[in-house]
């Protein structure tokens, strides 16, 4: 107890605690800076965020089952900006930090139902009515079956479409990505890329 009452001990402990406080505060302020920068970057995302529920509602009214509907900003470093010479005016605060471009992509994941062209058309209409200025519109359609669009014949007579059943879970998916530009120019030619 004598040692505790010693003034030197008080000074030493006091100085160590002050160093401790500084070591706690230094990263905290860095984190606060980072958080404020991130909130600025996330602005276009949050601005659109709540609207994705509207796409879901539109499509559910048409009888479709929507698994996911959302919007996200493309990374400013996305390679396709360079590939297609797309102008991107995003100014990144620092190369090391995560930086989003102002280009947003809307995506919907849904189960297949009825005519595929109709489904894509309804979904695109719903997406473009909610987000007019999105950069791309992505539709992922999940299905339990593979439709082999190949008419096969028996004894030279066409008898119909062959349907191959894979499984009963909605695991098979086809993704359609539609650039906004194409949608507005042609309004009909929406099949741009197909990933199997």
């Amino acid at each position: 107890m004598k040692m505790i009452n010693n003034n030197i001990v008080r000074w030493i402990m006091g100085i160590i605690v002050i160093v401790d406080i500084i070591s706690i505060l230094t990263p905290s302020f860095k984190l606060l800076d980072l958080a404020s920068e991130m909130s600025e970057l996330a602005e276009p995302y949050t601005q659109y965020y709540d609207e994705s529920e509207r796409i879901k509602n539109f499509l559910t009214e048409d009888g479709y089952e929507v698994i996911y509907a959302g919007i996200s900003n493309y990374s400013a470093n996305a390679p396709f900006f360079d590939w297609y010479n797309i102008e991107d005016n995003t100014v990144c605060p620092s190369e090391e930090k995560l930086c989003y471009s102002d280009k947003v992509g809307v995506s919907v994941e849904m189960k297949s139902l009825g005519n595929r062209n109709d489904q894509i058309w309804y979904t695109l209409t719903a997406m473009s009515s909610v987000y007019e200025n999105a950069f791309t519109y992505g539709i992922t359609i999940k299905s339990p079956q593979i439709l082999v669009n190949m008419l096969f014949s028996e004894k030279g007579i066409e008898i119909g479409q062959k349907i191959m059943t894979l499984n009963q879970e909605w695991q098979f998916s086809i993704k359609y990505i539609v650039p906004n530009l194409v949608l507005h120019q042609t309004l009909m030619g929406f099949l741009v890329k197909e990933d199997l």
Binding site: M13, S28, L32
Partner: protein, 113 residues
């Protein structure tokens, strides 16, 4: 404030600082002996001593523990900014508020005198 409550507040604050010190030392053994982690043992011992001085109503210790509380509060706030507010973080705020309340009560009472 009644002396009974003031004493209780001071006691709780002192033990919070001691507990913080013990946790800091415990963190050292949990993480292993890294060169930087080794500092934790000094910080932990210093906090335990600080807690004992807070229990003795020593003015400098109460001031430092209050500042420590504010520093941790800023630290927590910066974390919540990144991770988002959740129940765990809110519960962790309570000891820091106690340290700050103890500090302000201590000063308030001293000013009166």
């Amino acid at each position: 404030m009644k002396k009974k409550y003031k004493d209780l507040l001071n006691k709780v604050s002192g033990y919070i600082v001691i507990l913080a010190g013990i946790l800091m030392i415990f963190n050292l053994f949990k993480s292993g002996l890294g060169s930087l982690k080794f500092l934790n043992i000094f910080f932990g011992i210093a906090l335990i001593f600080l807690g004992t001085y807070v229990l003795k109503y020593e003015k400098w210790a109460v001031i430092l523990s209050g500042v420590y509380g504010i520093a941790l509060l800023i630290n927590m706030y910066s974390l919540t900014k990144l991770v988002g507010w959740n129940a765990l973080i809110l519960i962790l705020h309570i000891p820091m508020f106690i340290l700050i309340i103890n500090w302000s009560v201590f000063f308030h009472e001293n000013d009166k005198q």
